[in-house]
Structures are given as structure tokens and as C-alpha cells.
């Protein structure tokens, strides 16, 4: 395998981003148990490598769409963790003023165009943004994250056909964690690899291991360059794992302890060692401090005024 394009500074950044996501989500899990964060919470622990390696390469004018498991993508795209934590805690200072919550995070200024609670619902939206970029003649591109569960949705099939037909500058990043909610991929589809689903449409596509951060980085870099040059669409399938349940509180009766052990060993943070141990611990510690500050920031923020809802139904 060729040496990765990752330089030392970038690699360090990626480790930092992964720790920020990991510690943010572990803290969210704690806060969920005491009902200090609200609503359905879907964590990406074990899958941070994909978010970090992809979003590190994007600019603010590049759009990212995500699904219901979106915290990591938002953090990696540069959305401040204090605004995210405040959003999950339902505070006025949240990125969406407390109106969106975990499944509907948006930070338009940073190109985080949105999470969605409807599996597969974000795919056509990403095409719409890519179409806008194409018509404006910009070199900005759109990336959409989705899980393998979305692949069986009608929107997926409509969207990949349309993206291929219109040659849109969109990069589909599938986080194939082998589970659609509580059920294994094998019980939902006879097609194991998502790359094979798009094959007839003539997509350029690649399947990599999602916890192999340099591999994700390099594969995405190739597609990003091509998409900036006006080509597309592309599919990057990242084989990954969901180390927690579908949502916090999931009874997880379906889990296989063998797979859990295997993926603990393949954890993207554990296997990525671009810096020495002391530096790595420092990165982890700093990330933890940042998350604690975010929790404090959120706790110090008021809940939104009850009149806010009626004010934001329509744009003026």
C-alpha cells in the first residue's frame, strides 16, 4: 500500500478531532442517563475516523449533509462543541437555538447543511446543493454521510441515479457499520457491499476500512480533487462499526461479543498512532477540557423563551 498523503500536522489534527468526537459523545451518553441532554441520541463511537478524515479536507464553502448519527460529522466540519452541546441540552445558545436537537444539527456558516432524522432523507438534499454549486460554476463540492441502512430506502436509489445522470459534484460517504438500527445488513439486503449497489450507474467507488484513518483520508482526497474539477459523483464506502447501540438506551440484544472484541482492537483511535504516547495523552486531555467547558457553557445558558417556536415557523 502506498504511503499516505497525511503529513504530521494533519495526522495530529485528525487524532485531535477523533478525541474531541469521542469525548463529546461519551459525555453526551453520561448526560443522557441523567436526562440533561434531550431526545433520541445516536452515537458514532468507533466510527470517528471517517468523520475526521473526510471533513478535515473540506472548506467552509463545501457542504456536508449527515443523518441521525451526526455529532461526529458536525464536530469534524468545524461546528463549535459548545454550540453543539448547548443544542443537545436544549439551550438558547445551541447552534439551532434548541429547535433542532441531536438529529437536526445545522451550522450553515460552516457548511454543515444538516443532519436529518429520516434515514436517507438527506441524500436528495445533498444533490440539490451540489446542483447549486454546479450551476454557480464554483469548485465547492457536497459530501453526504449515510449508513448502510439508508441504501434500501427509495430515496437512495432515486438519488444515485439522478447524481450519476447529472454528473453532480457529490461524494457519497457510506458508513457501512453492518447494522440498520437493530438488524444486520444480511437481513435487509442480499447485496453485501454498498459499492456493488451503485456499480450499474457507473460510479467511481471504493471500499475502505473506516477505522484505517490514512486509508479513508487518501481515498477521499482522490475523489475530492476530481469533484473539485467538476467530476462526479463518487461513492466511498467505509466499513466501520457501531460500538454502542443504535440509540442510547437501546437494549442491544442483537450484539455479538466476538465482534465487539474484534472492533475494540480495530478502534480508529487506538490504531492511529501518529504521535508519541505523551503527546497523544495531552491531545486527549485537552479535548476533555474543551468538552467540559462546553458542558459548562451549555449549563450556563438559559432555555429558549417559549415564544421562540412561533417566531421561526416561516422565514421573513
Amino acid at each position: 500500500m502506498p504511503a499516505s498523503a497525511l503529513d504530521a500536522d494533519t495526522a495530529r489534527d485528525l487524532l485531535r478531532t477523533m478525541w474531541r468526537i469521542r469525548l463529546f459523545e461519551e459525555r453526551v451518553a453520561q448526560l443522557k442517563r441523567t436526562l440533561q441532554v434531550h431526545g433520541l441520541i445516536h452515537l458514532s463511537i468507533g466510527g470517528e475516523g471517517v468523520a475526521a478524515a473526510v471533513c478535515r479536507q473540506l472548506r467552509d464553502d463545501d457542504a456536508v449533509y449527515s443523518g441521525h448519527r451526526a455529532h461526529g460529522h458536525a464536530i469534524a466540519k468545524g461546528v463549535p462543541v459548545d454550540g453543539l452541546m448547548a443544542e443537545l441540552m436544549g439551550r438558547e445558545s445551541g447552534v439551532c437555538k434548541g429547535l433542532g436537537g441531536s438529529m437536526h444539527l445545522v451550522d450553515a456558516e460552516r457548511g454543515f447543511m444538516g443532519a436529518t432524522g429520516v434515514v436517507g432523507g438527506n441524500l436528495p438534499l445533498a444533490l440539490g446543493t451540489a446542483l447549486t454549486q454546479h450551476l454557480k460554476g464554483a469548485d465547492a463540492v457536497t459530501t453526504v454521510f449515510f449508513g448502510d441502512g439508508a441504501v434500501q430506502a427509495g430515496h437512495f436509489n432515486e438519488s444515485i441515479n439522478l447524481a450519476a445522470l447529472w454528473r453532480l459534484p457529490v461524494i457519497f460517504v457510506c458508513e457501512n457499520n453492518g447494522f440498520a438500527e437493530f438488524t444486520s445488513r444480511a437481513e435487509h439486503s442480499t447485496v453485501e457491499r454498498v459499492g456493488d449497489v451503485v456499480a450499474p450507474y457507473g460510479f467511481e467507488r471504493e471500499t475502505v476500512e473506516g477505522s484505517d484513518v490514512p486509508a479513508v483520508y487518501d481515498a477521499f482526497a482522490t475523489y475530492l480533487d476530481a469533484a473539485r474539477a467538476g467530476n462526479g459523483p463518487f461513492l466511498l464506502e467505509c466499513l466501520t462499526f457501531r460500538r454502542r447501540g443504535h440509540y442510547e438506551g437501546d437494549p442491544e440484544k442483537y450484539r455479538d461479543p466476538e465482534a465487539d472484541r474484534e472492533w475494540a482492537r480495530r478502534d480508529p483511535i487506538a490504531r492511529f498512532t501518529p504521535v508519541d504516547g505523551e503527546t497523544a495523552r495531552q491531545i486527549e486531555r485537552q479535548a476533555g477540557e474543551e468538552i467540559e467547558l462546553a458542558v459548562r457553557f451549555a449549563r450556563d445558558s438559559p432555555f429558549p423563551d417559549p415564544e421562540l417556536s412561533a417566531q421561526l415557523v416561516y422565514a421573513t
Binding site: G114, T116, T129, A315
Partner: protein, 344 residues
């Protein structure tokens, strides 16, 4: 004033909007070919296929593309060829378009127009003839517009394209090809303002889309008996100009609400509820509803003609309201829910 048709007015307005604003694009099935009613005919010739985009038969994704484009800076006008197919686009319309501004705390806005058309009368059967606008009025975040004539269609479409919110623009196939006159250039019509087409002091008839013309005809018939009916077209369902309707009802004390949609759960139910709350003390009779019966839409001419509410039903409903309490008037029951048949 120029002479035109409803469908011509749509086409001319789209072309004007595309000329004035590069951000306006049109997309949908067969739009570059003009579509089955020619509402977009010629647009591709003038503006090219980049801005007038034919799409596959993928209503869900196409509506979603329009939402994504709208929240990224374009002003898409997406066509759903028959409102019956909006079922396939509802996730994108209801879960994404309607809520993006709200869920993002006001960061995103979705200046999208979804044009579609409904209504029976062409023997197209139960899947190409429905009037489903009431579903859409149930979703906060959408605006719903339903013009009854070419001038309002042109004026409301101009306003809808400029609106920063998703607007569902419900046309009526039965109105498309009548000759009408419209102001040139078209006068923008504000979203949320009703129009009183005929004034009268005895009964208020609130009618939507195709039934507006029928209401005017019913008013002519009533006038022959010395009854002065006031006919009001709300033109937009969301937001609703309740003030204009309620003011009229407070004066007349009697009202008929009329639309082609199935009466049960139709927008007339909302109109009646809001009107009775706003004018309860002035009511001389229960508000009468005119709509379609509780059956799917049949194809056979004899059946479809019986199904479609029109002048006769509006006139009859108005007479019930007018004669309420004078003798044993029966409540108007066109559109009553048929009891389920007993299984043998």
C-alpha cells in the same frame, strides 16, 4: 389587459421570473418537453436544459433536490405532474422543506415553489384526479396557494417565487384552457389575502379553485330569487385571510364553504371551524359544507359527473343555510361519510 389562459399565464410568469432572476430554475418530469398540459412549453428553448431540467420519475428525490437547491441559494420551481403523486414527495416536503428553517433555528430558508395540479372532470380516475390540498395545510412551515383564475395564478406565482418559504402552488386542470383576461404585466397578488368577487348581504359563499366559478354561477341563480350572495375566494389556504371571511359572515350570518376535495377532513372543515369561532354570535344557521362524497373518484362519465360538486350543490347548500329554522330543513349531506357495508 391581454387575453390568455390559466396555463399560458403560468408559463408566461415562469418565463418572466427566469428572465429576471438567474436563481430561478424549473425541474420536474417532462418539463423541458412542456409537460402534459404545456405549462412549461418553450422554457427549455429560451433558458436551456441546465435551468429547465427534465427529471426521472423520482418525485421524492426531485422534490429533495429542489429543497437542497433552495436552501443553498437557488429559487427552484419543481413540478409534480399530478397532485396524486405528491404522496411520493411528501417526506421531502413535510419532513425537510417545511421544517428546515425552524429546525435550523432560522439559519436555513427554503424558497421553493412546488407546482402541481389536481381536480377531477377528465375521466382520469382515482389516481389522477384528487384534491389533496388539505393534507398540506396541516403542516406548519408550508404555504398553500390555490388560485381560481389566470390573473391570480400569474400574480400568486410571481409572489410565491419571491417568497422565502416553501409554497405549494395547487392548480386545477379543469381551469387550464378557458379564455380569460389578465393584466399585462401581471399584478403580484399577496399571499394571504382573500378576494371578494361578488358582494351580498344574505349568505357568504367561500369557495376554492374551480368551485369559485361555480359559486358565482350559484349566486346568479340565487339572485333570481332576490337572494344576494357574497362570494369570496381565499386564494391562499395558508396563511388564511380569516378577517375578510369572518367580516362577511358577521354581516350575512350564513355561510357555505365549498371545494372539490372530499368533504370529510377537507379544508372546508378548517374553514368552518375557524369561521364559527370568529363569528359564532352572528350565525343564523350551521355553516354548510360542499365537497366530494367519501369515495375514490370513478372514471365512468355518469359516475364522475355525479361525484364532482358544482353549481347545484352550492346552490342547494346555500338554500339550506338561508331557510334554516323556517321549516324542517335537512342539513346538507353531500359528502357525508357512507357507512361501511355490512359483510354478507
Amino acid at each position: 389587459m391581454t387575453e390568455t389562459t390559466f396555463v399560458e399565464a403560468i408559463k408566461t410568469t415562469l418565463a418572466r421570473a427566469m428572465r429576471e432572476d438567474q436563481r430561478v430554475i424549473v425541474l420536474g418530469e417532462d418539463v423541458a418537453e412542456g409537460g402534459p398540459y404545456l405549462a412549461t412549453a418553450g422554457l427549455a428553448d429560451e433558458f436551456g436544459h441546465e435551468r429547465v431540467r427534465n427529471t426521472p420519475i423520482s418525485e421524492g428525490a426531485v422534490c429533495g433536490v429542489a429543497v437542497g437547491a433552495a436552501q443553498s441559494g437557488l429559487r427552484p420551481v419543481v413540478e409534480i405532474m399530478f397532485i396524486d403523486f405528491i404522496t411520493l414527495a411528501l417526506d421531502q416536503l413535510v419532513n425537510q422543506a417545511a421544517k428546515a428553517h425552524f429546525m435550523s433555528g432560522g439559519q436555513l430558508s427554503v424558497p421553493l415553489v412546488l407546482r402541481t395540479q389536481g381536480g377531477a372532470g377528465q375521466r382520469n380516475g382515482a389516481q389522477h384526479s384528487q384534491s389533496l390540498e388539505a393534507w398540506l395545510t396541516h403542516v406548519p412551515g408550508l404555504k398553500v396557494v390555490m388560485p381560481s383564475n389566470a390573473a391570480d395564478a400569474a400574480g400568486l406565482l410571481t409572489t410565491a417565487i419571491a417568497d422565502p418559504n416553501p409554497v405549494v402552488f395547487v392548480e386545477c386542470k379543469a381551469l387550464y384552457f378557458r379564455r380569460e383576461t389578465v393584466p399585462d404585466p401581471p399584478e403580484p397578488v399577496p399571499i394571504g389575502r382573500a378576494r371578494t368577487l361578488r358582494t351580498g348581504n344574505h349568505v357568504t359563499i367561500v369557495a376554492l379553485s374551480r368551485l369559485v366559478g361555480d359559486a358565482l354561477e350559484a349566486a346568479d341563480r340565487l339572485a333570481a330569487d332576490g337572494v344576494e350572495a357574497e362570494v369570496i375566494d381565499p386564494r391562499t389556504l395558508v396563511p388564511l385571510d380569516l378577517d375578510t371571511l369572518a367580516r362577511s359572515l358577521r354581516r350575512t350570518g350564513r355561510a357555505v364553504v365549498a371545494h372539490e376535495a372530499v368533504t370529510a377532513g377537507g379544508f372546508g372543515a378548517e374553514l368552518a371551524a375557524q369561521l364559527q369561532a370568529a363569528a359564532f354570535d352572528y350565525l343564523e344557521a350551521p355553516i354548510q359544507r360542499v365537497g366530494a362524497p367519501y369515495t375514490p373518484i370513478p372514471v365512468s362519465p355518469s359516475l364522475e359527473d355525479a361525484y364532482r360538486p358544482g353549481v347545484n350543490e352550492i346552490e342547494a347548500a346555500a338554500r339550506v343555510a338561508l331557510e334554516w329554522g323556517q321549516h324542517d330543513a335537512e342539513p346538507w349531506d353531500h359528502g357525508a361519510i357512507a357507512p361501511p357495508r355490512k359483510t354478507p
